[in-house]
Amino acid sequence: MTTDLDWRLSRVRQAMDGAGLDGILMFAPGWRRENVRYLTGALFRGAFAFAYLPRVGAPTAFVGNSADARATGEIGRVKDVKVIDFPHIDDIAWVIQEHLASSGTLGIAHLELLPKVLLEPLSRALGGTRIISATRLMDEVRLIKSDWELEQIRRAGVVCSVGWRAFVEALHPGVREFEIVAAVEAELKRMGAQDNFMLLASGGDEVMGMTPPGVRELQPGDMVRTELTPQLDGYYAQICRSAVLGEPSEGQRKSFDLFNEAVEAGLAVVRAGVTAGDIARAENDVFRAHGYGEYTTSQYTRVRGHGHGLHPDEFPALLEDNDTVLDENAVIIVHPNTYTPLAGYHVLGDPVVVKQNGYEPLLSVERILFSSPI
């Protein structure tokens, strides 16, 4: 019987074959741990971790402290776990040299983030080994989720829905933005979330985007927007919603209708085989049809959605010029978040699993313009 780990290793090795890699080293700095998690399943606390997978043979994990070694050992996917004293990386070089000829090619995932103090001694130790980036390779590997991974993301989706309800309950006139975040964070942690990526914005049609919270007090009529992304057992799920304190204005209702139509248009084209660009185009066509096409540009917005999984903002970005094909079991959020003059920055979006003939929704939260009593 093929285990989930076998499935993952097979995907990585297939990609390594395609790229001509003899070994792959995954680097995890504090804010980009997704690739090492993909192999080890562990939640790390230390500033750095690595995992190495040779073309043939078992993977090895390298961590900076005994707690991370225990966490890796308890998961049990990677049996060979070495505690190393960063920035001394001799052990990593030795393990790689055991498997990889000096004329071989080593791919490093997140090579672009690898500190000088770690990369230079590694390069020296590996002599003539060709080192190339394997960041994109791993992005593509992680795009398609296993059944086990999908189950984790569904669980994160449940926590996400609970987090949104806590958000709405926290909305009252006079409440300060950071107090809303506190209420949501507390609920997410109580539910077992390890982390959360969250931005918000409150106010009227002057709001151009979301940021971390400030001391602004909510006022009747405010629209409060958020993108919250809890992490459960390593996997993130994201929700984008907006809520109004009191009765929504005509502009806010029109804005919601526009964004909801765009989300529905985007979701309507989701199925295995479509490109990221197809979905973005479907969303943007709605804005163009209503005369708001200019607000789909980078002046007002970043992307029309993106993947998520072991990282809250994964490949591919949903942009019209992105021809990445989405296969079955990719996980994406469709969110046409942008500014329009109707009601300022508006966020609305749902994460889904791409299926052969459509998609599987990951949230139970209804897609409406929420209204909090004042």
């Binding site: 700095p29 504090g30 804010w31 606390r45 230390g46 500033a47 750095f48 900076g64 005994s66 707690a67 225990r70 960063f86 920035p87 090579l111 672009e112 983030l113 690898l114 500190p115 000088k116 103090v117 770690l118 990369l119 230079e120 933005e177 950071f178 107090e179 975040v181 506190a182 209420a183 964070e185 507390a186 609920e187 997410l188 942690k189 109580r190 539910m191 077992g192 982390d195 959360n196 990526f197 969250m198 931005l199 151009m208 985007g209 940021t211 971390p212 919270p213 400030g214 001391v215 980078s298 007002y300 970043r302």
Partner: protein
């Protein structure tokens, strides 16, 4: 993650304070004949940038550019749409966004007419970024400025000390809230997080876990206005056999804290106290500037260096228990010759329900 309150309040950071911090770095640049310094930061590790500008890199990466003369500029991968918010919460006006930091830096330095450049803590920069910078047009030489900013941060001013005190009290209060009886560890984490975020913490890490079969550890690391503090306690330890040893070991380490203290001295004291136990343990003395990364970006030299008068540092003792779990005690201290102060003092005792002598209270 950095999703808590980000604020720039003149009552907390007096006018001129940020400029003074930048000015100290500019003095170094002028002494060394350098036209500008660049400081790299990302969402996980950006204490130096926050110190100099109050900027919050809540996502992705960025560079703070400090010219030898003139105001600093921020170069970032974040969208220009966040510039108005960044101007409100920092001392920066010159904000530049783009997908490639080396290209942004190259353009900035070209405008400045700068060809000789210093990188703060170059060893920890992404190697590829340094390489790209070296190939930018007009860059003649790049030197490593080392930990020049972090070293200055390790001698906090009175207003910085006040923020460290407030942050420490908040961290301690979060631990206290997490220590309620009959709570699951998820509930402990939720309560601690709520207190820290409501108190204005910008970033918080809460670790609540089993410590053997009968006890739990509650550990909180928080960032308040750019200043990091830590505290940890054990709940239910009075029911355990190891609590007395843990408390005594911690107190032995804490008794060594005075100006000039080294990790070697603390380790010796803890070792003498824990000599009779066969449990594994690990003790660390961490400058407040290194709490952000749990000392992950600290060099070996920095780890063993004496901690000076006026510094704020954390003592953290971790005991490895027979079932593979750990118990942790930690506090944040202001180290002064006349009266070393436990900044996380709202926490009573070192182990809930037990004093250092192993007696119940």
């Amino acid at each position: 993650m950095k999703r808590g309150l980000v604020a720039l309040d003149p009552s907390e950071i007096p006018p001129g304070e940020l400029e003074g911090r930048v000015g100290a770095l500019q003095d170094v640049l002028r002494e060394r004949g350098l036209a500008a310094a660049l400081i790299y930061g990302d969402v996980y590790h950006s204490g130096d940038l926050t110190y100099l500008s109050n900027i919050c890199i809540y996502w992705n990466e960025g560079l703070l550019a400090v010219p030898a003369i003139g105001p600093p500029a921020m170069l970032m991968k974040l969208s220009p749409r966040v510039h108005p918010w960044m101007r409100r919460t920092s001392n920066l006006n010159d904000l530049r966004s783009g997908p490639n930091l080396a290209v942004l830096a190259g353009q900035y330095l070209k405008e400045l007419g700068a060809s000789e450049l210093g990188l703060v803590e170059m060893a920890w920069w992404p190697a590829q970024l340094v390489n790209e910078l070296e190939h930018q047009e007009g860059i003649r030489s790049i030197v490593d400025l080392g930990s020049v900013v972090r070293e200055r941060r390790q001698q906090p001013s009175e207003s910085e000390l006040e923020l460290l005190r407030r942050g420490s009290r908040l961290t301690a209060q979060a631990v206290i809230e997490g220590m309620g009886q009959d709570l699951s560890n998820h509930e402990r984490a939720g309560r601690a997080e709520l207190v820290a975020r409501l108190g204005g913490a910008e970033d918080v890490s809460v670790y609540c876990h089993r410590s053997g079969p009968n006890a739990d550890t509650v550990e909180v690391i928080s960032e308040f206005r750019g200043f990091w503090t830590i505290a940890a306690r054990v709940v239910g330890a009075a029911q355990t056999e190891w609590a007395g040893a843990l408390a005594a070991g911690y107190e032995a380490g804490a008794s060594e804290i005075r100006p000039g203290v080294t990790i070697a001295q603390v380790t010796t004291a803890v070792k003498q106290s824990l000599g009779s136990t066969d449990l594994g343990w690990k003790v660390d003395l961490i400058q407040h500037t290194d709490i952000e990364t749990e000392a992950g970006y600290r060099s070996m030299h920095e780890a063993v260096a004496p901690i000076g008068e006026g510094s704020v540092a954390a003592l953290r003792l971790e005991l490895e228990l027979p079932d593979g779990s750990t118990a942790v005690l930690a506090d944040t201290y202001l180290i002064r010759s006349e009266d070393t102060e436990v900044l996380t003092s709202p926490l009573e005792g070192v182990v809930s329900g037990l004093n250092a002598a192993g007696e119940n209270f």
